[in-house]
């Protein structure tokens, strides 16, 4: 049976520490935009921790909400791409094929979650910061859309490893970088097609909601509501 990769984010566990944000930068060769570009709203954060204030002093409260590509089953970004750079893989991922992307940016406009990022310029690493680049991940050049891949390089690596050892993938054997780094275990990654996986178990929780679920995009990222 093919895998169906999915994630559960327990908002009751999330502390807003943003370890996932830096983990993602380190794993996926995401350049820092620098002050000028950041001021223009051009940072690339494949995952970000959104925070929403509720109430006024002294009863102010905060809600944290990590947002990454929701890997929607009915992804609004996919049908609008004229070149199939954005498409759905057999394992339920929204893939972005960099070499096929011509940069219409249509997908980014269509995405309700604003989790697609555009290379407005060629990325720059001041030497020797380039030595940190992960050779398992492409370095995207100017004019290309990019987005969270659920760390597809890790998925591939684990699948190739399992195949070499002639065995099935184990639940929790590998994790995307954000999930790996998450101290309070707010993020759990796994195969929804495996009923025994932790992600399947958590997805059945009564606290499960989908981000902008009313849009019908059928996200594969599940959020467990904060208050039990």
């Amino acid at each position: 049976m093919p895998h169906k990769w999915a994630m559960v984010i327990d908002l009751d566990r999330c502390t807003g520490c943003e370890a996932c944000v830096v983990a993602c930068h380190a794993e996926n060769n995401i350049p820092t935009a620098g002050e000028d570009q950041a001021a223009r709203g051009r940072t690339k954060h494949w995952i970000r921790v959104e925070r929403y204030w509720e109430g006024e002093f002294p009863n102010a409260r905060i809600r944290f909400q990590p947002v990454l590509c929701q890997q929607c089953d009915a992804a609004p970004c996919e049908p609008v791409c004229p070149t199939y750079a954005s498409y759905h893989t057999s394992e339920g991922l929204n893939a972005q094929v960099y070499n096929r992307c011509v940069g219409t940016r249509f997908c980014a406009n269509a995405c309700p979650y604003n989790v697609r990022f555009f290379n407005f310029y060629n990325p720059v690493w001041e030497k020797p910061l380039n030595l940190q680049l992960n050779p398992d991940v492409s370095v995207r050049e100017v004019g290309i859309m990019e987005k969270c891949t659920f760390c597809v390089q890790r998925i591939h690596g684990a699948e190739i490893q399992a195949e070499a050892e002639k065995r099935e993938l184990k639940d929790g054997e590998f994790n995307p970088a954000c999930v790996q780094s998450c101290s309070p275990k707010a993020m759990v990654f796994g195969d929804l097609n495996d009923p025994a996986s932790e992600v399947s178990r958590l997805a059945k929780s009564g606290r499960n909601t989908k981000l902008l679920g009313e849009l019908g995009t059928l996200p594969n990222v599940n959020y467990l509501e904060r208050n039990s």
């Binding site: 327990d10 009751d12 566990r13 502390t15 807003g16 520490c17 943003e18 370890a19 944000v21 830096v22 983990a23 930068h25 380190a26 794993e27 820092t32 935009a33 620098g34 002050e35 950041a38 001021a39 223009r40 709203g41 940072t43 954060h45 970000r48 921790v49 925070r51 929403y52 204030w53 109430g55 006024e56 002093f57 002294p58 102010a60 409260r61 905060i62 809600r63 944290f64 001041e126 030497k127 020797p128 910061l129 030595l131 940190q132 680049l133 992960n134 050779p135 398992d136 970088a177 790996q180 780094s181 998450c182 101290s183 309070p184 275990k185 707010a186 981000l211 902008l212 467990l224 039990s228």
Partner: protein, 767 residues
């Protein structure tokens, strides 16, 4: 994967050196290391892959295939962080590859402090320093000073031995936000001069007085792991916590109940809660426990701290006090902790003792192991024991250094060895650090970067990056077992640098005599081996039949700990269950007789009429105390509460802003009696109207390309008020006034939410 290796054009002019190691390209190996980005001492796994680096060998530029660190993750076996790592820890990679890291020894060429250096050879650099030290040793050995951030593990032992044998005073460990007050309080209350280890996984209720335990305080990764379990790790049982602080921290943002309290009166609030509990007839307690000797009026039930009286002083309603007392005693397993701003007042020790007393009171009523415990010390033969005088205050030490230089006291420092401490940036202006440093005749720095302090150096002997070094660390908190982290270098040195401990050993050997005799090891790893081998006798994570096997296993595992490594989280739980030795049960007598603490009003610098606001500088979630401001990943990480990147800012209550006609993003000037800083305003509903807060970290003028000339440094306007007993800097005791400068455009505030600088972002939270 082949593609990246080949992006150099085929006609690349650089020659290729023969690689020193045989690596399979494209295959990652994971090597253990230790995190040095804060004091928590987490274990790392470093993903090392082959890559091509530009290096200099024998003065020749070239390319070499070498193992390069690609990613940092937590070491799953390490008892403190169990495979997890925070944002700051992961950014440690950029220390290694930082473009502004020093690549060669430097000798000053321009005027002192001008930042003009020239590259010299190691032989020349060491020769010069040796000449200085030799001359000093014969003339005035006591005039050698060593100033560093708190050194970890055997490094401290090494430096102490060097200094002692040299005849110099002990090293000065400096960090701007030290924990001396809490250490002292814990020593008095619990007999341990450490920060506590929290077992949140078992907690049902936690009351935190200002401790940012999920963000910057103590051992955040360890505490976050426990926090996740506390919330949702036990089906049907969700732990709750309340946070008492006047500016909402990242931790406060996660609290079930966030209660602002007048700055400096947290101890009063704790005693108010204790008062309610002590009045509770159903709640069994021992009136003559340790708290009774530490807190005046405890045995009488704290008659001066009735909820109504406490309400007047703290601003927290009597009803809330009663509710907190109830929650604390009726919610199952609870604990009370203190950290951060409440300790940074002139009465900080009192606040800490009061909270500790409350914790003892709550804990004593149960016969379960306490949630608070203290990580046991590792039985090193030659452990540099904590000084018998109690915890040393950073501020007192640095102030003494500065005063002795400026006043020309006997044995005033003539040669200063500087290792990564940056008091010029972080000490309050009253210490006159720049003047003092400038007046010291000779300064040599081991730092990897030029910062505001090391720019004054005459000689720079750049250290390896941590990932290139032998590391060891004994975490003082975060684990219930003994932990001694150790790691060999994960990667070969990229630049022409040398490890500081090896340089010290080298200097010691060349100085000869008693100094050489005190340092019997050729290299630092030899010293580490000598220190670690005796641990084989103790039961722990490593089962080895001889010393060699033990030593290699220590290196493979990334350290030694007193519980088996195999079952990280389970091991912690098991150790907890077994650790009947909860802290208060094993008290050491507090040093010296001591009068019971009475509440004293916190003192503030500046009259309330002229300076109407309390000023709170706080450790930034990303940049810590400013020593990480040079890392671009952390600069571009949006602050989780304000969403600011690459900026500094002032947090204001919207009411305050409205009263002073300050719009979001507008430039504001904050003035204390000691100076003023400007930063853009961020309006936050999570801050008291009489408080303004500012993150520490920005405002560097001399710290590499990513940090220099960005934002403002709140430490630059702090008053030199100290905590009354420990001499620690009372960094929350300055009062300020606030003025609108105007102009969103010049403010340079970059917010993630809102998209662009200068755009006042309205928010309507909806999904």
């Amino acid at each position: 994967m082949a593609t990246l290796d080949s992006c150099g054009s085929p006609d690349h002019q650089l020659i290729r050196f023969i690689p020193d190691e045989d690596l399979v390209p494209g295959i990652a190996t994971w090597k253990p290391s230790l995190c040095t980005m804060c004091g928590a001492g987490c274990g790392l796994l470093v993903r090392v892959m082959q890559g091509e680096a530009e290096v200099v060998h024998n003065g020749q530029n070239g390319l070499v295939q070498m193992g390069l660190a690609k990613k940092l993750e937590g070491n799953p076996n390490h008892p403190v962080n169990l495979g997890k790592l925070c944002a700051r820890g992961q950014a440690g990679l950029q220390v290694l590859y930082h473009p502004d890291r020093l690549r060669n020894p430097l000798k000053r060429t321009g005027a002192r402090g001008s930042g003009q250096f020239q590259e010299v050879t190691w032989d020349a650099a060491l020769g010069e320093l040796l000449a200085q030290l030799s001359a000093l040793r014969t003339s005035d050995a006591g005039a050698l000073a060593f100033l560093s951030r708190p050194l970890q593990g055997q490094r401290r032992e090494l430096v102490e031995r060097f200094l002692k044998s040299f005849g110099a005073p002990p090293a000065i460990a400096y960090e701007p936000l030290d924990e001396a007050v809490l250490r002292q309080a814990n020593l008095l209350s619990f007999g341990h001069s450490q920060l506590p280890t929290l077992d949140l996984a078992r907690a049902d209720y936690l009351l935190s007085f200002g401790a940012d335990f999920l963000g910057t305080w103590n051992s955040p990764v360890s505490q976050s792991i426990g926090y996740g379990e506390m919330r949702q790790g036990r089906p049907g049982r969700r732990g709750r916590f309340a946070q008492i602080e006047s500016r909402m921290s990242q931790t406060g943002a996660n609290a079930d109940e966030w209660i602002p309290c007048r700055p400096g009166t947290e101890g009063v609030l704790a005693l108010g809660i204790a008062n309610v509990i002590l009045q509770d007839k159903e709640f069994v307690h021992d009136a003559h426990s340790r708290p009774a000797s530490l807190i005046a009026g405890w045995s009488d039930g704290l008659p001066d701290f009735t909820p109504e009286m406490v309400e007047k002083q703290t601003g927290v309603s009597a009803a809330a006090i009663a509710r907190l007392a109830h929650d604390l005693t009726h919610s199952g397993l609870g604990a009370v902790i203190i950290g951060g701003p409440p300790l940074a007042h002139t009465n900080g020790l009192f606040n800490a003792l009061a909270v500790n007393a409350l914790e003892s009171l709550v804990d004593a009523a149960r016969n379960q192991p306490a949630l608070l415990s203290f990580t046991p010390a590792v039985p090193f033969a030659s452990a540099a024991a904590p000084s018998a005088k109690g915890p040393q205050s950073s501020f007192a030490a640095i102030n003494a250094l500065s005063q002795s230089v400026l006043s020309g006291a006997a044995h005033e420092p003539k040669v200063l060895l500087l290792d990564n401490a940056n008091p010029v940036f972080s000490a309050p202006p009253a210490t006159r650090m720049p003047e003092a440093i400038a007046k010291i005749p000779y300064v040599a720095s081991f730092g990897s970067f030029i910062d505001e302090t090391s720019v004054w150096a005459d000689l720079v002997l750049p250290d390896h990056a941590p990932l290139e070094s032998w590391l060891d660390d004994v975490p003082a908190a975060g684990a219930v077992s003994m932990v001694a982290g150790l790691a060999p270098p994960a990667v070969r040195p990229l630049h022409n640098t040398r490890a500081m401990p090896d340089v010290i050993l080298d200097l010691g050997h060349q100085l000869g005599g008693s100094v050489a005799a005190a340092l019997p090891w050729k290299t630092y790893d030899e010293m580490l081996q000598a220190a670690f081998l005796p641990l084989r006798k103790h039961p722990g994570s490593i089962d080895a039949k001889d010393d060699d096997e033990f030593w290699s296993k220590v290196q493979q595992q990334g350290g030694w700990w007193s519980v088996p490594a195999a079952n990280g989280a389970a091991g912690r739980a098991a150790a907890n269950a077994g650790s009947g030795s909860a802290a208060p049960a094993a008290p050491a007598a507090p040093p010296g007789a001591r009068a019971a603490a009475k509440f004293a009003e916190p003192q503030f610098d500046g009259a309330p009429n002229d300076f109407p606001f309390y000023f709170l500088p706080y450790a930034s979630q990303a940049l810590g105390d400013g020593s990480l401001a040079h890392l671009p990943w952390l600069q571009e990480m949006p602050d989780v509460l304000t969403t600011a990147m690459w900026s500094s800012w002032v947090e204001l209550n919207p009411q305050t802003a409205e009263r002073l006609k300050i719009l979001p993003g507008e430039l504001v000037e904050i003035t204390s009696q000691h100076g003023s800083v400007r930063a853009p305003a961020v309006l936050s509903p999570g801050i008291a109207p009489d408080l303004v807060a500012m993150p520490i970290g920005q405002g560097h003028i001399n710290f590499g390309r990513y940090a220099s000339h960005r934002g403002a440094n709140p430490l630059a306007i702090l008053a030199p008020l100290t905590e009354a007993e420990t001499g620690s800097l009372a960094w929350a005791a300055t009062r300020v006034k606030l003025a609108r400068v105007g102009g969103v455009d010049q403010a340079n505030l970059i917010l993630y939410a809102g998209g662009m600088s200068g755009f006042p972002h309205e928010e309507e939270p909806h999904r």
